[in-house]
Symmetry: D2
Subunit: 138 residues, 4 copies
């Protein structure tokens, strides 16, 4: 059974745009990160708790296909799904839509790794985090 | 014969970093864009000339693999190569190195399309531009 | 009688921070702009309607005093008030607080001018806009 | 005798612009910071050496007047001068020009404080740093 994606909404602000009068292509990765942060808050675990234990989540891969441009003031819905939940990494799939017109704007994925900040090595995702991520995994 | 990549250098500034004390992952796409702009200046054609004719270069795909983090004050060398030169699109491959240590930081590609700003349709890359890009194409 | 300030709330995202693990000082001006955009939406006039008539709102002055740093995940409340409403310009005063601790983070102002995009000259603020701004003016 | 300002040059990149097709107003503060970083490199002291000793340079005040907009591809010259060198703080005055047309774009100042990262208190600027800054002070 396909999992339900996590959804969150954000508004395009003036500083997100560039001289082509559309959102700068790098900013969709920032939008995605905001969705990821909302997702963690929704799951009830704090990035700071993770950081306090000496862990963090560096990105190892990022991919985006640009379908239609978003513009200033657009309301964007971000859909997040866990494409792959591995022992040490998570692959998030994402799609962003214009909330009003339902037009698909971009889609892609990022792969993040759970790492020990001290040793810089990948480590196993703690069980209580993995358990919370599972319902959103394919 | 493999073409010589175009190379340019940039310095990591404080605003490029995030609270993990490394360059924010979205900023490598901005670094790439700066390299692309340097490349166009080097080739002697101006984005503005293109824009005046009603054309532009929207991105349709972006991909990056993160190998090692860059930090504040690092000198980064960006290597740009044309992976594919098509009738209406260009696929740039890129690699970024720490200029002092020669460590590979990130690698990836972007695909850009030549488009008519009015109709929003992809159009053929003008011959004088294609001719300048060819020596950097695989 | 002192006018009630307009208030809006935003969340600090990872990309807003820098290697000092606090919000980058330039980003408070982006937060302010988001508050201004929320304010216009609240007043029910659209930046696009203004733009369609050939007007825009360039900034002519910006000032900020930094009291306490904001950090990743902080909820920030922005207070906006109109310090001066002139024929052709508006001076917005702002204060930002940590929403949870009520600590004052920054305060300052920006001056914006109503301008004709064609001629680049300052013009009179249209009456229907000025009327909506008045209740928030000192 | 008036001190000679420190000068450095930077190029406006696409990501610096917004939908008004000019540099976003917050980005001049980023340009200023880059000039400041160039200045420290020129003086031969490293931000990292300072950081290793547990010090840093938070901003306490920032001010900018916007005269003329800068656009994509513009070459900008930043002039930096020390308006005031105090025991614990430095006030930098800045002006930015279009390098080709010599038109003044923006001018303003920032005040930074030498602080102990642990205690968050302002501390005296170390003598070897103060000595290097003096020739650029009014």
């Amino acid at each position: 059974m396909a999992p339900t994606p996590f959804k969150t909404v954000l508004r395009v602000t003036w500083a997100d745009t560039d001289a082509a009068q559309v959102v700068h292509y790098s900013n969709y990765f920032r939008f995605l990160e905001r969705a990821e942060e909302d997702f963690y808050r929704y799951l009830g675990f704090s990035f700071f708790d993770i950081a306090k234990r000496g862990f963090w989540f560096p990105r190892v891969e990022a991919f985006c296909q640009y379908r239609k441009p978003a513009r200033y003031n657009d309301l964007i819905e971000v859909e997040l799904i866990i494409e792959e939940l591995r022992e040490k990494s998570v692959k998030y799939g994402f799609r962003m839509f214009n909330k009003e017109t339902e037009v698909l704007l971009v889609e892609g994925y990022v792969v993040i790794v759970m790492a020990d900040k001290q040793t810089q090595k990948a480590i196993q995702i703690p069980k209580e985090i993995a358990d919370k991520l599972k319902p959103f995994s394919k």
